[in-house]
């Protein structure tokens, strides 16, 4: 089966893994955003806690969770391998370089944006996921773990809100380049569809990230 390992250790093979895991992670963002919209429901967090209890205990979700871990793992691993390879490809840099005249900032800084997202992700996982799964949360009126109260108290800290909003800005730029780039990498570039993919990717990035950023801002300023 060496042809398989050769395929996915070639530069194009690794890029294809980046693209496919990236699109998979985009699908996760959609589910995560829609579920968390229940935070806006004015019921003291009852619906949100039922939802988070379901997500933490349903066997199907718990299995898919490992798929998500693998998705992030491969995306980050391939990014590290490719970035090292790409940096090694130009040992001596230019004295004078003006890349802004031929490419967009976000397209050249996917690694930086990804690192900001990763730092955010670790803080985010520790604060919510870790404490919900392994911590000791108080029960709510329905006897579910009261994750909602933890969310509300977290989003009343200004530095936490700032971290979230900055991370969503980084994610937005990451997606603006990443979404359309993934289609190009798997070979889907067609004059009929590519303009639509670009517009959809842009709208998708802004809507998803604005949706996530709205949550900490809403609790900080209005609750």
């Amino acid at each position: 089966m060496s042809w398989i390992s050769k395929t996915f250790s070639s530069s194009i093979g690794r890029k294809i893994i980046m693209a496919l895991t990236g699109l998979f992670l985009c699908s996760f963002l959609v589910v995560h955003l829609i579920g968390n919209l229940q935070l806006f429901k004015d019921d003291g967090g009852a619906a949100f806690n039922i939802y988070s209890h379901f997500m933490g205990t349903n066997p199907l979700i718990r299995t898919l969770e490992w798929g998500l871990v693998l998705g992030f793992g491969f995306h980050i691993y391939e990014a590290l391998i490719l970035t090292r390879r790409n940096q090694a490809a130009r040992g001596i840099g230019y004295v004078e370089s003006r890349p802004s005249q031929n490419s967009s900032w976000q397209s050249r800084n996917m690694g930086l944006l990804g690192t900001i997202i990763l730092v955010f992700l670790l803080v985010h996982l520790y604060n919510f996921f870790w404490r919900a799964r392994f911590g000791d949360l108080d029960p709510d009126i329905n006897n579910n773990d009261d994750l909602y109260t933890l969310v509300v108290s977290s989003f009343h800290q200004w530095w936490y809100v700032l971290l979230y909003v900055l991370a969503q800005v980084a994610l937005c730029y990451h997606l603006i380049h990443g979404f359309r780039s993934a289609f190009q990498t798997v070979g889907l570039n067609h004059r009929k569809y590519t303009p639509a993919i670009k517009i959809f990717g842009y709208v998708f990035s802004v809507v998803v990230c604005a949706g996530f950023a709205a949550m900490p801002l809403y609790f900080y300023f209005f609750k």
Binding site: W3, K15, A88, A89, V95, Q101, S103, S107, R108, Q184
Partner: protein
């Protein structure tokens, strides 16, 4: 001179030129002043003036690659003021004219930067990595026999045009030079597309893309991150659609070829 502008004033310029004795030596930027440069000169003619000055003074002239000076050979690979082939899009260095600069300008001139393109001397780089990629599969094997009649193989005009557009790649390496990752994907994609689109190229289609991509990786070029600077700096306008086609060809070949290794 026909087409010249009699009112154009000669220019004085400061050049910051990369000087490097040989492959092993460490290089550095050296400042030169050139005087009375006509705006009608090409960039290479301006460098000729510099070299005549240097020779008169008994100094070593600046080595730079050039051949046809008509924008078709792809030899004149200079990184000028932070851009491959200079500030004009869709042009080679030899077709860049001094009227695009102003009197008193400082111009930084560097060689292509990529580990796969070692600097021979000064501004001259070794692009034989491209030749080895072509040797790995960028050809159609010619079998002996009677010469086929013209137009014996029907090829739709649209396909012929797309193949021709890909075939306009002059192999100058501006795509590698401009790419943040020093990736050769645009070059390889143009060469793969050109042959994959035509029926004559279908026979060796799968092995071609497998071998050319393998050679591209062996040469140490970076991977594409779709930033698009290659296509923006390409003097003949090779489009990113070719890279998508290359990726498609690669996946199809890997999935369907009989090559198990």
């Amino acid at each position: 001179m026909a087409g010249s502008n009699p009112n154009a004033k000669p220019m004085n310029l400061t050049l910051k030129v990369w000087r490097q004795k040989n492959r092993a030596a460490a290089g550095q930027v050296v400042d030169y002043n050139v005087r009375d440069i006509s705006p009608d000169m090409s960039f290479l003619e301006m460098l000729d003036v510099l070299n005549e000055d240097l020779l008169r003074k008994g100094d070593d002239p600046v080595a730079f690659d050039h051949d046809c000076r008509e924008g078709i050979c792809g030899s004149c690979n200079l990184f000028i003021n932070g851009r491959a082939h200079g500030p004009e899009s869709g042009t080679t260095t030899c077709q860049l004219h001094m009227r695009k600069f102003s009197d008193g300008d400082t111009i930084v001139i560097e060689p292509w930067r990529a580990n796969s393109f070692p600097v021979n001397k000064d501004l001259s780089v070794d692009r034989s990595a491209f030749d080895r990629i072509i040797q790995a599969g960028g050809y159609v094997s010619v079998n002996t026999g009677g010469a086929p009649d013209g137009n014996e193989i029907p090829i739709p005009k649209e396909i012929a045009d797309r193949a021709f557009e890909a075939a306009t790649c002059i192999g100058c390496g501006a795509c590698v030079a401009a790419c943040k990752n020093a990736s050769a994907m645009l070059f390889v994609s143009a060469k793969v597309s050109q042959l994959a689109l035509l029926p004559q190229g279908h026979v060796e289609r799968a092995t071609r893309v497998e071998n050319m991509v393998a050679q591209m990786d062996i040469e140490g070029f970076g991977a594409c991150t779709n930033i698009g600077s290659c296509a923006a700096e390409c003097p003949v306008g090779i489009s990113l659609e070719n890279i998508a086609l290359l990726n498609r060809e690669f996946l199809t070949a890997k999935a369907s070829s009989n090559n198990l290794s």
